[in-house]
């Protein structure tokens, strides 16, 4: 009898183990890609003094500085997961984070996936620069939109091509072939760059298009800014696009690009802020690429913080919602002082004004949060 009961017990235990396993398998199967955030949100929902954000890796260095400063003065902890813009949006869609951050506004498909309206608040601006490896060329290389598109389409293959020579008079261009380096991972940087090329080149628009990953007609892929920078540094005759901040920090050579007004603009914090000094629509979802501003660098873009317009969802407290909005409001005002030192472009006054209006439109239980 004893033996029998023991046998039953063990088989029950074994059954329980299988049941747990199979349940976890099934939940993995159904849950989709982003399960990583759910644990932390469950834990912190009881702790209203810690907010969770996820998204753009471009924003990460700035956010860590901003949030640590904010923590010193307000004691609010912010846990920001630098998982990439797309993953940040899907975590916000699944309501596992308080805010998302993205280098591109949500597209149609992402918009239809969320159950409630999301507002985009511009938080910083960055630029994508063309870095190159031409030891012979002493002056800064100049590029026009047409030449740039032709290079990345694989139509211009040598550095001494007449089209390049025509806009770089006096420069000693070598007869070496052009090696193109692009991002291999999906990224907001690629999105800004391909959006720009799509705007300036009809052929690029139809052949390749814009997106965080595209089907590159030519070139080598490097993972992350460091991967592309590595390829450029190592390969003579290479050209590739990287973030402005990364190029400045690593003292890499980068080209002047001709903007819509016809001026060749050196990418810098000032010229990026200038690019954002245009009329910004009330929803702030504007691409700064190919800017109208005469002294603006044409391959720039905003980075946005994304939050739900109605902050009462799941079991969020009004306190938590207020803390989140205060944090973002601080980030677009006082927080901007930290951008310069980290090579981010501070928001233009126009962008801050739009951001303020958007923040005021956020509600908790249909009542405005910020006065």
């Amino acid at each position: 009898m004893k033996l029998n009961s023991f046998k039953i017990k063990t088989s029950l235990a074994a059954g329980a183990v299988f049941a747990i396993l199979s349940v976890s398998m099934v939940s993995c199967g159904g849950g989709g890609g982003s399960t990583s955030g759910s644990d932390s949100s469950a834990k912190s929902s009881s702790d209203d003094n810690a907010l969770i954000g996820a998204g753009s890796s471009f924003d990460y260095p700035l956010f860590s500085k901003m949030f640590s400063e904010y923590n010193k003065s307000n004691g609010l902890k912010v846990n920001y997961q630098s998982v990439g813009s797309g993953a940040g949006i899907s975590q916000l869609t699944n309501k596992t984070v308080d805010f998302g951050a993205s280098d591109a506004p949500m597209n149609g498909k992402q918009d239809s996936a969320v159950t409630a309206p999301v507002i985009h608040i511009p938080v910083t601006a960055g630029a994508v620069v063309l870095s190159y490896n031409l030891p012979e060329v002493k002056d800064t290389l100049q590029l026009s939109p047409e030449v740039l598109a032709d290079i990345f389409l694989g139509k211009i293959t040598k550095w001494n091509d007449p089209k390049i020579a025509a806009i770089n008079k006096g420069a000693k261009l070598p007869a070496t072939s052009i090696v193109i380096a692009h991002r291999s991972d999906g990224s907001g940087t690629s999105n800004i760059f391909t959006t720009y090329l799509s705007k300036v080149s009809e052929e690029w628009m139809t052949k390749v298009g814009k997106g965080s990953s595209v089907n590159w007609p030519v070139g080598l892929g490097g993972k992350g800014n460091e991967g592309v920078a590595g390829l450029i540094k190592q390969t003579p005759g290479a050209i590739g696009y990287i973030e402005l901040a990364y190029a400045i920090q690593n003292a890499m050579a980068y080209a002047k690009v001709q903007n819509k007004a016809g001026n060749f603009i050196t990418p810098s914090i000032a010229s990026v802020t200038a690019a954002a000094n245009i009329s910004i629509p009330p929803d702030s979802k504007v691409s700064l690429t190919n800017t109208e501003a005469a002294d603006g660098y044409p391959i720039s873009g905003f980075s946005w913080v994304l939050i739900y317009k109605e902050q009462k969802y799941n079991d969020r407290s009004s306190d938590r919602a207020a803390k989140l909005l205060k944090l973002i409001s601080w980030a677009i005002h006082d927080g901007q002082q930290y951008s310069g030192a980290l090579n981010y472009a501070p928001l233009s006054p126009a962008a801050v004004a739009v951001g303020d209006a958007l923040l005021k439109s956020a509600t908790y239980d249909s009542k405005p949060i910020l006065q």
Binding site: A14, L21, S22, G86, A87, S184, D185, V214, L220
Partner: protein, 329 residues
């Protein structure tokens, strides 16, 4: 399960039987204690056995669960793209066209090339350590160094490859007249070859050490030289083990991600030769998964994982068949 219980009783039945004849009270108590103790032993035995069975089943469930998850999650892409996915040559996330052929080709090309490069080294190390110098400080050093190769994180191989190996390969390429890019399938195969040597070498070494010495002594006794002993006794005796080690290292090469993605050039254009840049399935998944913002795109990436899984299974099955044939003759 019952048989083991019965076995336990049968093996100990002589004790209680003998006691039942004498029938003194103390003897009965002792007998009961013995029975209780033997029940306890049987129970421990059963618990141990069951733990083993459960662990085994958990592993099977885990692998089946992964396969199931991959299939379920790639259904949208299988529905949308059909079997053309496997031989499609264009991977264009913007227009939702997904073809895995360039990555399938890149994976197989880089892995098998790496295997071919690594085999001479791993077999040589295995013979040196297993047969020539099994003991001593130099073989110990070599053995530990080879095992350390397996312990180095792959991202370090990637950086080393990018900083040291790629310029050397570029130099080589400019001498033999191909486009001197440096990164490409050849560079990634070299890195992979270094990374997979320890798997085949370690297994090969222990196999060679297990060759019974009477066999070798008999060969020496017949006047065979060391090379002849290795060729006609050691290698034939250990070939299935050596092959198993090579198979293990091939599996490692197929799935390696980080080091490969750093030196392969990551382009979805079909490679024209082994020096051309390419891409592997594992590195595409690692590169594009975080920013896959469309349902079909995400699903196509997961299907890539499914294809990689199946390729590994098929290669392992073929390998098992070859090992079986080796051991049969």
């Amino acid at each position: 399960m019952d048989t083991s219980v019965e076995n336990g009783l049968v093996t100990r039945s002589d004790l209680p039987l003998r006691v039942s004849n004498s029938k003194t009270p103390e003897a009965i108590v002792k007998a009961k204690q013995r029975i209780r103790r033997s029940f306890r032993q049987i129970r421990t035995e059963n618990v141990f056995k069951r733990t083993l069975v459960i662990m085994g089943i958990v592993m099977v469930i885990l692998v089946m669960g992964i396969l199931l998850t991959l299939i379920v999650q790639s259904l949208p892409s299988i529905k949308a793209l059909g079997p053309k996915y496997l031989w499609g040559r264009v991977w264009d996330p913007v227009q939702d066209i997904y073809g895995a052929w360039p990555f399938l080709l890149g994976t197989l090309l880089s892995s098998f090339l790496a295997l071919i490069i690594s085999i001479p080294f791993s077999i040589a190390v295995a013979i040196f350590l297993g047969e020539y110098y099994p003991k001593g400080w130099l073989p110990d050093l070599l053995k530990n160094t080879v095992e350390l190769i397996a312990a180095v994180p792959s991202v370090i191989y990637g950086f080393w490859g990018l900083a040291v190996l790629v310029p050397i390969v570029r130099n080589l390429e400019s001498h033999i007249g191909v486009e001197p890019i440096g990164v490409g399938i050849f560079s990634s195969s070299l890195i992979l070859a270094v990374m997979i040597i320890p798997y085949a070498a370690s297994l090969g070494r222990s196999m060679i050490q297990m060759v019974p010495s009477p066999l070798k002594e008999a060969a020496y006794g017949l006047g065979a030289t060391r090379w002849e002993v290795i060729r006609s006794v050691v290698l034939p005796y250990t070939k299935s083990g050596l092959f198993a080690g090579i198979l293990l290292s091939l599996g490692r090469a197929l799935g390696e991600t980080m080091a490969v993605t750093m030196v392969i050039g990551n382009t979805s254009i079909i490679p024209k030769n082994i020096f051309a840049p390419g891409n592997t399935m594992a590195s595409v998944i690692a590169n594009e998964f975080t920013e896959a913002d469309k349902a079909v795109y995400l699903s196509a990436l997961i299907e890539l994982g499914l294809v990689l899984f199946l390729v590994t299974v098929v290669i392992n099955m073929i390998g098992k068949r070859i090992i079986d044939r080796f051991t049969n003759d």
